[in-house]
């Protein structure tokens, strides 16, 4: 009883799982990488077909009692979220990983192995993600650029209106600007997502931020794309060729395939 009680104490070990790789994969990809607690190195816990990318943590930091309050501490959370990604990013483009969401913790190695063997879909997900990374693309439409272009198209190029007619024209352009931006954003969103999807293995259009959050820069695209490593240059070229008349694009990654990690219908 006393042994069991002490095993539940603050120093008791638990295993935080970052994701899984195919068994035999990534043997050296995580060498020297430290885990969430900055103290323990990454270990691969092997199941039948796949292995968990994990590190030891203590229940003093990740146990039920403390975790809830730690999660409410933005500084603690930022550090851990960055560390979670740092571990997986260390191996991105070298080994295929199915990333887990933050906070998957087991109390023993056996529990980790049991989970691995119960989730046969993980191996199919690994197959689907093999050799691919995730790239994020955000598209922003400049309200000023749209305004200037529309004004120029109507022959309004001076700063000051030269006539009453010009003044009225400017007023009506300003009044219709929201609609014009809205229309353009919708067109660009569909068209660009379609073109980028063509250069990727899979694609997800995530919600864009609210239009009024940053009105002068309207976000119209917040896409995640699963791209094979050998097609990454081609994908980036596709981004560079998108319509940038009034728009700009931000590419992030390569990321582990967070957006494509949940089992698809094909994996089930």
């Amino acid at each position: 009883m006393s042994a069991a009680a002490s095993a539940q104490g603050d120093d008791a070990a638990a295993y935080y799982v970052y994701g899984v790789v195919a068994r035999g994969d990534g043997a050296d990809a995580f060498d020297g990488v430290v885990g969430l607690d900055q103290a323990h190195e990454i270990l691969l816990i092997e199941g039948r077909d796949v292995a968990a990318v994990a590190s030891e943590v203590t229940l003093g930091e990740f146990g039920d009692d403390v975790l809830t309050s730690n999660l409410r501490d933005p500084l603690w959370l930022e550090e851990k979220v960055r560390a979670h990604d740092r571990v997986l990013a260390a191996a991105v483009e070298r080994v295929t990983v199915v990333p887990f969401r933050f906070g998957t913790i087991y109390r023993s190695l056996d529990h980790v192995r049991k989970m691995l063997d119960e989730r046969a879909d993980l191996e199919r997900t690994l197959e689907r993600l093999r050799g691919a990374v995730e790239l994020g693309v955000k598209g922003f439409l400049s309200r000023d650029a749209v305004r200037d272009r529309l004004a120029a198209e109507h022959g309004l190029d001076g700063e000051k209106p030269a006539s009453g007619r010009e003044y009225m024209l400017r007023r009506s352009l300003e009044r219709d600007l929201d609609d014009a931006v809205q229309r353009l954003a919708a067109e660009l969103a569909d068209d660009n997502h379609e073109r980028l999807t063509g250069a990727a293995e899979a694609a997800i259009a995530n919600p864009v931020r609210a239009a009024d959050e940053q009105p002068e820069e309207r976000m119209f695209l917040n896409g995640a794309y699963l791209v094979r490593v050998d097609r990454e240059d081609g994908f980036r070229a596709a981004v560079a060729s998108l319509d940038s008349t009034d728009a700009r694009y931000e590419v992030t990654g390569p990321w582990p395939a967070y957006n494509f990690a949940e089992p698809s219908e094909d994996d089930a």
């Binding site: 933005p74 979220v81 087991y106």
Partner: protein, 66 residues
């Protein structure tokens, strides 16, 4: 990746937002042994996102007013 118009602090927030959108909101969801309930992480995600977005907005307003 760095937009020339952004301050380093703002850029860092944007990057953290990208991270949070993935690490707290995507990836395989499994129930481990420690009760970090799905609802718990979801709430943390929503709260942190609001915080980060408002920090980014404040920094932008600050930048524009200079």
């Amino acid at each position: 990746m760095t937009a020339p118009s952004s301050t380093p602090a703002l850029q860092q927030q944007v990057t953290l937002l990208e991270l949070v959108d993935r690490v707290l909101n995507k990836g395989v969801v499994l129930t481990g042994d420690v009760t970090l309930s799905v609802a718990g992480v979801d709430l943390v995600y929503v709260g942190l996102r609001v915080l980060l977005t408002s920090v980014a907005t404040l920094e932008r307003l600050d930048r524009e007013s200079r």
